[in-house]
């Protein structure tokens, strides 16, 4: 786990332990080092002192060549088990006597070296001049001692030191574990509160107050933020509730209005049909049975009556269709739009084979929706395009998919008569026509139907166009 991710308590305790451990170690090392140096110095001094004493005692033995007495003097070293060897040399540097008496000659230097003591090869050894006060040098004393005294003391103080170190570290550990809480407790409380807020989205919790240090400032700021959040959340909820109520009311209104309208349109169409049938019927009777009693003007007038009433019938039919569309149930399925468009194109071509129209239908267009309704919408759009390209030199109708308004939309484009964008908002109104019946025939209900169908699918439809430059209809589902 990287250092950054370890819990604060661990970090604090670790830091405290590390510091105290380091300090203890440094102190211990310093002491040990001093002790070692000091011990060696003391040992050397003691050996030197002993050497001087022994040398003083050996003067007569050397002066008067008394080997026995020399050995006797040296044997006093028996008292110190750490003395490895001792030897007396005469003025010529020749070995005179040794301690222990039976020591092999190779155990001591063959000739005395310079006066003084030194640590070498695991022992402390050196030479001391033997002379009576103010007298000439009578010889040299050599003593050698092992370093066990140092090692023993060191071992002992090492163990004591280690024990003290261990106890100190343990104490440091417990102390730091206890004391770091002063720092970490408020931080942990804050962290807990933060977790509660972000995890459960519970804005009612507050972090416990934590004094006036930086953590306290953090806690206070945090609590303030939570309060703000809480307030905002409540506000938002209220607003959302309000809007929802408004929307629901509006939707209910709209639904009621639409239902009324549909019912109205349905019944009106139905009621209008009957008299229409009479008009048309009786006109026909007149034309057929009383033809020879009418003059040309009269026949012409009657034809006109019939044409008008038929036209009215178509209008009413279209209205009915429109109304029906609004009331029919929708069944959603995957629809192959490309195939549908091709079908409609083929029909249109078959119905008017003398017209040459180029169709460019993108393959693989699919949509989810009510198949029959979608077919009606597509038929209306394509029929419109077919109609309004009637006067175009090289008519071309495209069906495809485009990127528009941040999403994808189906597109039906033609290069026909187009329309003035000024009146774009009138396009989808019922009975709204932007061209006169002389130019193009039609009831003005087609686009309204398409609009209704697209709306029922939850989509949007809009159009772009320019006069004599064609029109493009976009719709989403």
């Amino acid at each position: 786990m990287p250092l950054r991710d370890r819990p604060i308590q661990q970090k604090l305790t670790a830091i405290l332990l590390l510091i105290s451990g380091l300090v203890l170690l440094l102190t211990a090392t310093a002491f040990a080092g001093y002790q070692y140096w000091s011990m060696r110095r003391t040992m050397r001094d003691m050996l030197a002192v002993r050497g001087r004493v022994m040398a003083a005692n050996s003067t007569a033995a050397l002066a008067f060549a008394d080997v026995t007495h020399a050995r006797e003097v040296l044997s006093a070293l028996r008292a110190d088990p750490h003395v490895l060897a001792a030897a007396l040399y005469d003025q010529d540097g020749r070995l005179f006597a040794t301690y222990p008496a039976d020591l092999p000659v190779t155990a001591v230097p063959a000739t005395p070296g310079p006066d003084g003591y030194a640590f070498a090869r695991g022992r402390l050894a050196g030479f001391q001049a033997v002379a009576e006060a103010h007298g000439p040098r009578l010889g040299t004393l050599y003593t050698a001692s092992d370093l066990d005294a140092i090692y023993d003391t060191f071992r002992l103080s090492g163990m004591i030191g280690a024990a003290v170190l261990a106890v100190s570290l343990l104490t440091a550990y417990f102390l730091s574990a206890a004391l770091q809480r002063a720092i970490s407790a408020p931080i942990l409380a804050l962290a807990d509160t933060a977790r509660a807020v972000s995890g459960r989205r519970d804005y009612s919790v507050r972090a416990p107050p934590a004094g006036r240090d930086e953590v306290g400032v953090l806690t206070d700021a945090f609590n303030q933020m939570i309060e703000e959040l809480q307030r905002h959340a409540t506000e938002l909820e209220q607003r959302v509730a309000e809007r929802t109520r408004e929307l629901e009311a509006r939707a209910a209104e709209l639904l009621a209005a639409n239902t009324e309208l549909d019912a109205f349109a349905y019944s009106v169409s139905h009621d209008l049909r009957a008299p229409l049938r009479s008009i048309d019927g009786f006109s026909q009777v007149l034309l057929e049975d009383y033809a020879e009693r009418l003059d040309d003007a009269g026949r012409d007038a009657l034809n006109r009556v019939r044409a008008a009433s038929q036209r009215m019938g178509t209008l009413i039919d279209d209205l009915l269709k429109l109304a029906r569309i609004s009331r029919a149930e929708m069944r959603t399925e995957l629809v192959d739009v490309s195939a549908m468009a091709r079908d409609i194109a083929t029909e249109l071509q078959r119905a008017a084979p003398e017209r040459q129209v180029e169709f460019a239908i993108s393959p693989g267009l699919k949509a989810r929706g009510d198949a029959p309704l979608l077919r009606v919408a597509l038929e209306n759009l394509l029929r419109n395009s077919w109609k309004y390209t009637g006067k175009a030199a090289r008519p071309r109708i495209e069906v495809g998919l485009v990127e528009a308004n941040g999403g994808r939309a189906f597109m039906v484009r033609d290069n026909g008569a187009g329309f003035d964008m000024q009146y774009a908002n009138k396009l989808f109104g019922v009975f709204q026509r932007l061209h006169s019946a002389d130019e193009f025939e039609g009831t003005g209900v087609g686009l309204a139907t398409v609009y209704r169908i697209i709306s029922r699918h939850g989509g949007r439809i809009w159009a772009e166009g320019a006069v004599d430059q064609g029109a493009t209809f976009y719709f989403t589902l």
Binding site: A60, F64, A65, D66, V67, H69, D90, Q91, R94, G135
Partner: protein
Amino acid sequence: MALLTALLASLLLQTGPAPEYQVKAVFLFNFAQFVDWPPPAGAVADTAAPLVIGILGDDPFGPFLDATVRGERRGARPFVLRRYENVADIEACDILFISRSEAKRMPAILASLKNRPILTVSDADRFAERGGMIRLVTDRQRIRLEINLEAAQAARLTLSSKLLSVAAIVTPRRR
């Protein structure tokens, strides 16, 4: 100095009979380190006065004693060698070596030297028993010391205990 070392060396290693009187000369010289003479009565001790080693009778040392003491000092006192024929000739003397040639006259000599602060040394027989202070005894390649402490004390000479420790203390025969 070289003579000294050669002397003792040959004695120790027994590479050959070290001239006996070589060693005895060194001993005579070394006695000065282990003996304290009383300050002369009256005037303050002249610490730079020469330390006189005298030889009474035949000089058996040959060149050795001269070589040993040449240029040496005890503290500030330079060593001086004197040779005497008669006891009466002895004036200021610190260490007196009485030669074997005087053996017959020994009692008279010792009597006249009695209580004088002179360290009497000899290798004559029974020297210490008869009142002499230090006798040099040749014993199987070694030279031992016999010391008559009473005689030394009577002459107010202080012999270092170190010297005593390497010597055999002899008490004179009481008649």
